[in-house]
Symmetry: C2
Amino acid sequence: MRVAVDLLGGDHAPREIVLGVAEALRSGAFVAEELLLVGPSSSTEALLREEGIETLPEILHTESVIAGHEKPVEALRAKPDASISLCVGAVRNGAADGLVAFGNTGAAVAASTMGLGLLPGIRRPGIAVSMLGRNGRFLLLDAGANPSPKPQHLFHYAVMGRAYAQNVLGKENPRIGLLNIGGEASKGNEVMKQAYTKLEESTLPFVGNVEGNQLFSGAADVFVADGFVGNMVLKVVEGFAEYLVGVAGEAGDDSDLRNLLRKLLGASDFSEVGGALLLGLNGAVVIGHGRSRANAVLPALRAARAEIEAEVNRHIVEDLATANPGPDEVAPTA
Amino acid sequence: MRVAVDLLGGDHAPREIVLGVAEALRSGAFVAEELLLVGPSSSTEALLREEGIETLPEILHTESVIAGHEKPVEALRAKPDASISLCVGAVRNGAADGLVAFGNTGAAVAASTMGLGLLPGIRRPGIAVSMLGRNGRFLLLDAGANPSPKPQHLFHYAVMGRAYAQNVLGKENPRIGLLNIGGEASKGNEVMKQAYTKLEESTLPFVGNVEGNQLFSGAADVFVADGFVGNMVLKVVEGFAEYLVGVAGEAGDDSDLRNLLRKLLGASDFSEVGGALLLGLNGAVVIGHGRSRANAVLPALRAARAEIEAEVNRHIVEDLATANPGPDEVAPTA
């Protein structure tokens, strides 16, 4: 098991990412052989040694990076040695089983999708985030890889999410809900109605449509969403949490209060669980927040390892074969 | 100025709604002539007298109600004397200037749209909710009236929202943002891109796309959203707030903490401001939560009165004429 780490992406790279790697090694959570670092070799080596690390992981040297504001596809073409591309290349050629990257999500999604390829039967990758609610951890996907999905893509997200929830989150029989704006089968737009039918007819443990206010109440373990809606939901929760922490901080000098609120909110902060997972590809891909600091690195590494060791991709492919998804391709709509 | 009140809709009707009306009268916030009650006349009269109200508002008698689970259009057809229909009729024939209803949102939207008709130039009504963020109150619309809007509908929502924010929320020059999943003009689906162009080319104070995490940070005063997304956002915030209050309650016996959290969250609870506003129709329509209790009635009545007295509808029609919306109808898309 080996994870490639993009040292160059994100607002505080490479220093904070390297410090995070140092902590992962120093704590014994990871050993050097489990990591393949991708970034500037001599400065990384120096910083790791300064941090007391004796056995260094292999470092794949590059100084080329795709910044947060760059257009993914154009930038990937213009920079063949970009750190994210080298990470993807390492997974493709078997030097690593998965990768962890911070920063430009679009570039990470594009590079991974083009470089790793889709799992057999899957048509689109999906971004999954895990958050904490009434019933423990739950999974929301797609959180933005695919803003205009077809019903079949949503069906595939259900299969992917279930495999992850079962094998990594430890849910025995994860319940799948379709994130929609009403409970009845007839609710939502055409894509949602067709996705509902597909899920209803499948062998998956589908609990039906779930509404936004049921996300944190434990109504399902896997919430399947259109990527536009899933991304919006994720960001609204993030922004609302930040707002509350800010208001609580200003409301008084009661720092216990603010700390508890932070703790409550931190438990629902997707950066705490190491970032978002890009599921559906040949390899494990974990994408952390662009503003990640050193303390976000170890959770991201753990997330990648957990996905690899649980063989989530093998489960997705096997489950897809038995989930009885109906016709392989939806009828062309307009 | 007179507001029709549906006494029969909602989980705790009619008793809690009548108690709320009693409080509105007893406190002096409203006088009897300003209200037209629609519901069971004798029991309402008895309860109001029991509550110490001497001068009673006029009561339009009916015992017919559309329950929360009924399909709006069918139910409206089957029950011509439904309380919501009588409220709408009162606004249409001039006996009232607006209405307040709790409960079946779909039925209230359908009855109002069919019975009152759209303002000149407007093609679809929109549900607006006001919430509290970093920059004071802001408006989110559409929150669910129109789950598959055309770009022009979104443009109209911007005009409506601005008129409301300016004339009721007291924002001098309300900034309009388009709730999207990325900042650049090229982000989101086709409808969002076209709506962006329309807003950009208009005379409206458009600040561009805003993301979900900017909702509470004061990035705009009016957030224009697709009804599917707007509804989802509203419900996710509601559910997340409830979840936090619940967790805080269980976290310890520190009731000060829970109370402050409740207060923080209450300020973002749309029921506190009296419900959602259905904008774009000939008349003011305020729709409260189905689970509203007596204390939700006065805020809802105030919201209706504020909208009527500020002549929001006159402003919408005038603003629409000068906002320079581009072609009156979008090119047919597939």
